[in-house]
C-alpha cells in the first residue's frame, strides 16, 4: 500500500516536473494533500535529475553552436557523392544483396512446383476450384493498371531522350535502335488496348493514344528528312505537355496501386 502510494507521488511529481503543461495542471491538487517530507525528498531527487539533464542539454547546445554547419553539410554531401561513386563502381553482385533475391526465387519456385503438382489440369477437378468473378475482375483491373504504369514509365524515359536530341545528333545507329524501341512499345500498346475498357483506366486511354501516335511518327523517321521531322515530334511532345500528362497519370495510378 505504501509502495503504491510512493509510486503515485512519484508519478505526480514526474508529471509536474517533466510533463506537458496540461499534465502539470492536473498534479497540483494531489500534491498539496501529501505530507511535506515525503514529497520534498522525492522532489529533491527529481530536481537533481532535472539539473543533470539540463547540464547535458547545455553541453549539446554548446557543441551545436561551436560547429561550422556549412562545412558539415558540404562534407556530408561530399561523402554521399563519394559513396555513390564507389557504389556505382562495384559490380552488380556487390551492390545488390543477392541473399534475399535468391531466397525469394526459391520460395517462388517452391510455390510454383506445388501449384504444378496439385493444379487442376482435367475438367473435373477444374470445376471444384472455381474462382469468383469479382476476384477475376479485380486481378484483371490490377494487371491493367500495372501494365499501363509500366508502359507509361518506359514511354516517359524514351520520349524524354527523344526530346533531348539536338538537330543532327541522331546517328543512323541511334535511329535504328530508337525505331526498334518504338515498335516494341507500339506492340505493348496493342496489348494494353483491351484494358482501357475498364472505367478506371479510361482516362489513361487518351494519353496513351497520344504517346502511340508519337511512336508511329518515330517509326516513320527517315534519315534524309529527320531534322524537320524530329523537330515536329519534339514540338508535339512540348505543345501537348505530354511529359506532364504522363507524370500526373503515373502518379494517379501509383497512388491507386498503393
Amino acid at each position: 500500500m505504501r509502495k503504491k502510494r510512493s509510486k503515485l507521488i512519484l508519478q505526480n511529481l514526474f508529471r509536474s516536473r517533466f510533463g506537458d503543461p496540461s499534465d502539470k495542471e492536473k498534479t497540483g491538487n494531489f500534491l498539496n494533500g501529501i505530507e511535506d517530507k515525503k514529497v520534498n525528498n522525492l522532489d529533491a531527487s527529481l530536481q537533481k535529475l532535472e539539473d543533470g539533464l539540463s547540464s547535458i542539454k547545455r553541453e549539446i547546445d554548446s557543441e551545436v553552436e561551436k560547429t561550422d554547419w556549412n562545412t558539415v553539410s558540404e562534407n556530408v554531401t561530399g561523402y554521399i557523392a563519394d559513396s555513390e561513386k564507389r557504389r556505382e563502381g562495384k559490380p552488380l553482385s556487390k551492390r545488390v544483396n543477392l541473399k534475399p533475391v535468391l531466397t525469394a526465387a526459391a520460395v517462388v519456385t517452391a510455390v510454383a512446383s506445388i501449384f504444378l503438382v496439385y493444379s487442376p489440369w482435367d475438367g473435373e477437378r477444374t470445376a471444384r476450384y472455381s474462382v469468383p468473378a469479382e476476384s477475376v475482375e479485380k486481378i484483371e483491373r490490377n494487371l491493367g493498371r500495372h501494365e499501363t504504369l509500366d508502359y507509361l514509365r518506359r514511354s516517359k524515359i524514351f520520349l524524354a531522350n527523344i526530346s533531348d536530341y539536338e538537330a543532327g545528333q541522331l546517328t543512323p545507329s541511334m535511329l535504328k535502335s530508337d525505331k526498334e524501341l518504338a515498335r516494341h512499345l507500339l506492340n505493348k500498346k496493342r496489348y494494353l488496348n483491351h484494358h482501357f475498357n475498364n472505367i478506371e483506366l479510361s482516362k489513361a486511354k487518351n494519353i496513351c493514344d497520344q504517346i502511340e501516335f508519337m511512336f508511329y511518327e518515330i517509326v516513320m523517321l527517315e534519315e534524309e528528312r529527320d531534322p524537320a521531322h524530329l523537330q515536329n515530334i519534339k514540338d508535339f511532345i512540348r505543345d501537348n505537355r505530354l511529359m506532364l500528362k504522363i507524370n500526373l497519370l503515373e502518379k494517379e495510378l501509383t497512388d491507386r496501386e498503393v
Binding site: D20, V64, S83, E84
Partner: protein
C-alpha cells in the same frame, strides 16, 4: 525555447515540398538543402545517444547517406522529418551494438561499456557537479533503446509527447509510460550513486 520552436517552424516553411520532390529525383543540390536544415537535429540525437562528438558526426553522415539512397521511396513528403529521425534512431542502435562488441574486446571484462564511453565526454558545467552529470550520462546510455531515444527527444530536443509519438509511431500514452520508466531508472541510479 520559443526561439527554438520558431526556428523549427521556419525550417518547415522554408524547406518547401518541392525541395523534397526534387531530392527524390536524385537532385543533389536539393538534397543538400535537406541536409542543411536537419543536420543539427540529427547531430543532437547522435550526441545524446553516444555523448561524444565523433560518433554524433558519424550518425549525421550515415543518416543522410541512407536518406539519399532511400528518398525516392518516401511517398509522403510531410513525413520527411520523422523518417529522418527513424533512420537516425536505427543507426544509433546498430552503431551502439557494433561499438559495444568492438569495445568489449578492448576493455576489461569487469568494466561496463557505458562506463567506458562515459569517460570520453567532459562536463563543462559549474552548477551540477561533474560527477553527477557524468554518472547521469552513463545511466542514460544504459537505458533500453526506446527509453533512451525518448529521453533525448524530450529533454535535449524539447519535443512534445505528441511529436515524439508521431515520430516513433506510438501512442502518446505509451511514450509517457516509457518516459516515466526511464526517469524512474535514472532517479534511482542517481540516488544509489549519491548514497
Amino acid at each position: 525555447m520559443p526561439a527554438r520552436k520558431e526556428e523549427r517552424k521556419t525550417n518547415v516553411l522554408e524547406l518547401e515540398r518541392d525541395v523534397i520532390l526534387r531530392a527524390r529525383t536524385g537532385d543533389r543540390a536539393a538534397f543538400g538543402e535537406i541536409v542543411y536544415f536537419y543536420q543539427k537535429r540529427i547531430f543532437s540525437i547522435g550526441y545524446g545517444y553516444f555523448m561524444n562528438r565523433e560518433d554524433a558526426m558519424e550518425i549525421v553522415q550515415e543518416t543522410f547517406l541512407k536518406a539519399y539512397q532511400g528518398i525516392k521511396h518516401l511517398r509522403d513528403a510531410d513525413k520527411l522529418s520523422s523518417w529522418l529521425y527513424t533512420i537516425a534512431n536505427n543507426l544509433c542502435r546498430d552503431h551502439y551494438s557494433k561499438k559495444k562488441r568492438r569495445d568489449w574486446k578492448e576493455v576489461e571484462m569487469n568494466e561496463s561499456h557505458a562506463e567506458f564511453i562515459g569517460k570520453e565526454s567532459i562536463i563543462k558545467n559549474d552548477l551540477v557537479s561533474n560527477e553527477t552529470a557524468d554518472y547521469l550520462k552513463r545511466s542514460i546510455m544504459k537505458l533500453p533503446h526506446k527509453q533512451k531515444v525518448i529521453v533525448i527527444m524530450r529533454h535535449f530536443q524539447e519535443l512534445k509527447y505528441k511529436e515524439i509519438a508521431e515520430i516513433l509511431g506510438r501512442t502518446v500514452g505509451t511514450i509517457k509510460r516509457l518516459h516515466f520508466e526511464a526517469i524512474k531508472k535514472l532517479r534511482k541510479n542517481l540516488e544509489e550513486n549519491s548514497e
